[in-house]
């Protein structure tokens, strides 16, 4: 999940509710309530940073941006994921059938 979020944030500045929308459009339903703690944790880990943007409807919004460290972590995570996916693929290739529902989303 962090992988997904990081991949979205990597593409540019993002606001949490937009993030939810993006995830939704990718057929991943998450609650905003779970998202905020995650973002805070990632931010505390130094992977993300944010800036305040005044909004016309409500309090100022936090827009999250990825840091260099976050980028590093992301590439590492991606590599791990890739290896994992490859391994699973290599394993399931002979059987070939049941691999489809195992990895429905690969961003």
């Amino acid at each position: 999940m962090e992988f997904c979020i990081l991949s979205i944030i990597r593409q540019g500045e993002v606001y949490p509710s937009d993030l939810v929308e993006r995830m939704k459009s990718a057929n991943l339903h998450i609650l905003e309530g779970t998202l905020y703690p995650l973002l805070t944790r990632l931010k505390n880990a130094g992977l993300l940073t944010y800036r305040w943007v005044e909004s016309n409807s409500g309090p100022p919004r936090k827009y999250f941006v990825m840091t260099d460290k976050g980028l590093e972590f992301y590439s590492e995570l991606e590599r791990t994921w890739q290896e994992l996916a490859d391994a699973v693929h290599a394993l399931t290739r002979p059987a070939s059938d049941n691999s489809s529902d195992e990895n429905p989303t690969q961003p």
């Binding site: 999940m1 962090e2 339903h29 609650l31 309530g33 931010k43 409807s57 309090p59 791990t80 989303t105």
Partner: protein, 743 residues
Amino acid sequence: MKKVININFQGRVIPIEESAYDILKQYVESLRRFFANEEGRDEIINDIEGRIAELFGESLKKGSTCITDEDVNHIIASMGRPEDFEDEEGKVQSQLGGEEKQSRTSYQYESANDAPRGRLYRDDNDKILGGVCGGLASYLRIDPTIVRLVFALISFAAGGGILLYILLWIILPSKPLSNTSTTKRLYRNPDEKVVAGVASGIASYFDIAIWVPRLIFALPLVTGILTSIVRKTFWFDDDFFPGFVFGSFGGTLFVVYVVLWAVIPEAKSASEKLEMRGEKVDLNTIKNTIQEDLEGFKSRAEKWGGEFKDKAQQFGHEFGQTVNQKTQQFSKEAGYVAHSGGNRLLRAIGIMFKAFFLFIAGVIAFALLVALLALMAAGIGVFPLKNFFLEGFWQNFLAWSTLLLFLGVPVIAFITWVIRRIMGVRSGNKYIGFTFAGLWVMGLISAGILAASIAQNFDARARDKQDYSIVQPSHGKLIVKVPESKVKVYGRFFKMDGILSMTDDSLFLNNVRLHLVKSTDSTFHVNAYKYSHGSDESNAVNNVKEINYGINQDDSVLLLDRGFSLQRGTKFRNQSVTVTIQVPVGKRIVITGSVNRRLNYFHINSRNGDWDFDDDWNNNWENWSSDVEYVMTAGGLERVKKEQVNEDENSDGSNTEKDAIEKYKKSKEELKKEYDKKQKEAEDLKKELEKPVDTTRYHYQKSVSYIENTDPAKFQGNGRKSNNEELDLSSEGPATLMIMQMI
């Protein structure tokens, strides 16, 4: 119709229905509790609130006049309740990767497998030593702490518990059991504690009022201390401290408390606290798991990735590496177990120390309280004396305020504090404390002023000399006695120097000292110095004149009054009398035991007419004994008739006595040395002599008595025996004759 209120939410004024506000408040509160252990809790809550505020703003923009229940519920649904977070997480994760799902379900499967009881395992998850108790507890579905207590008790009682434990440890297989029991668990309650929260934990476990176990724990202690105080006050027991330590603690629950303290875990986390109260723990278990999941995400992902990679690569080859890994893991685990065991032992020792120090601190605190109580009692005791001490209205007033505020307030405050703690009342207002502190400070100030003003009353000192003409005793020997006075000794509830007794309107003092000096001429002289303090010179002199002390003479017997009395109106200003007897050289003096017994101070100064009263007053006290004849020599008083002191101890003493008479002109030091040496020798000799003589005599006597006792008996017995034989013969004789005749 609903009430609409305006709230300030994230810097915005938002009109909201009251019921909707309640829902929102509850929701935020639940979030706050959910993220209680999170690092960035406030930030998370803030973010979520911000988002909610934004959504509110949107819905207000759309034209609605206020936020309704519906709006709030809708927002909460989209944000998700804390309970949903877990599911959501699981769902997303299952969507993300099948392997996570697999591992999760397999874990769940495992734990589901454990749920039905039926097999007894050692519990790997909940263990102190080997998990035997934990496993037993989950088998029996009771609190493992109770099982541990039972084991500990058995071990203490017979030692069988240890053996049983080791046996079970060996026999039972180990398995990580998941503890999803809904039963209450026994915890120490850190929120409501006096010492360590044991009592309150027990109270919440058994669902009883909190003061009941506290009282049970505290009552034997308190009663023990109180009885010892009472005993101390009224019977003057000397072994006060050990008395109340061992008397009240030996058989009481103090030990039990310490053991429970060491055994029962403290309810630290929210879920443990809920468990302690026996409430549902769903939310919290969920919270714990989700947090663990999230925190361990990265490491787990990497680990799983690595493991899967390994497995994929080595698929079909060998499992050697995995086995290796497993063994490594196992050894690591074993090391951890050993480590944690050591830690626990250390912790137990730490708890013991802590308990000990707390105990000592408690004892000290209690001792202080007792001291305060005693002071107060003394204050009340002194109270009848106040008319003799105090002058005027202000001093009386100050005395009262000192007694009530300085001494009374701490006692009352302590008692209220104890009661409040026992009843579990949390004091909300600080005013009680401030009030007590303020009153006490007032008491302190008045005590200081009182002390100062009383001290001022004792400022000046006066002395007056009174000569008594006495007839010279006929045998050159003066016997000093103090006759029994008619006044009874006032109860010894408190002791104060010099005050012998008192009635309502008179105070009888026996501040009388006796002072022996060498006379300057060849006659006995007796005079008395009267002292008194006063606020100024004239006052002191007046006080001196009030003292009426009498000395009577009956030929060679000098009778000293036991004391002197102060009439009502005369204040106690530390009046005292020093009687000086001048003994001429060559004359003898006997101080009877009554002097020692009945006079307050009895000091002998046998040096050469020291008229300086501030000289070391007491130097010969150790060597002095009553009822012994002393003779005044040029060098000072010398002892006569030593056998009176030594009594019948030895006959050798008489030699030294003769020596003393012959050589009393010798220097005192030499004689003393010689005497001491000889006495020692004599004692040694006597000891040596006594031992063998006594034992031999004893043996001798015994053997004699033995012979005397047994021999005649033997002799008699023999004699009787022979008589019997004769009788037998004689009785047999006719019978045989008869038989012979019949034949």
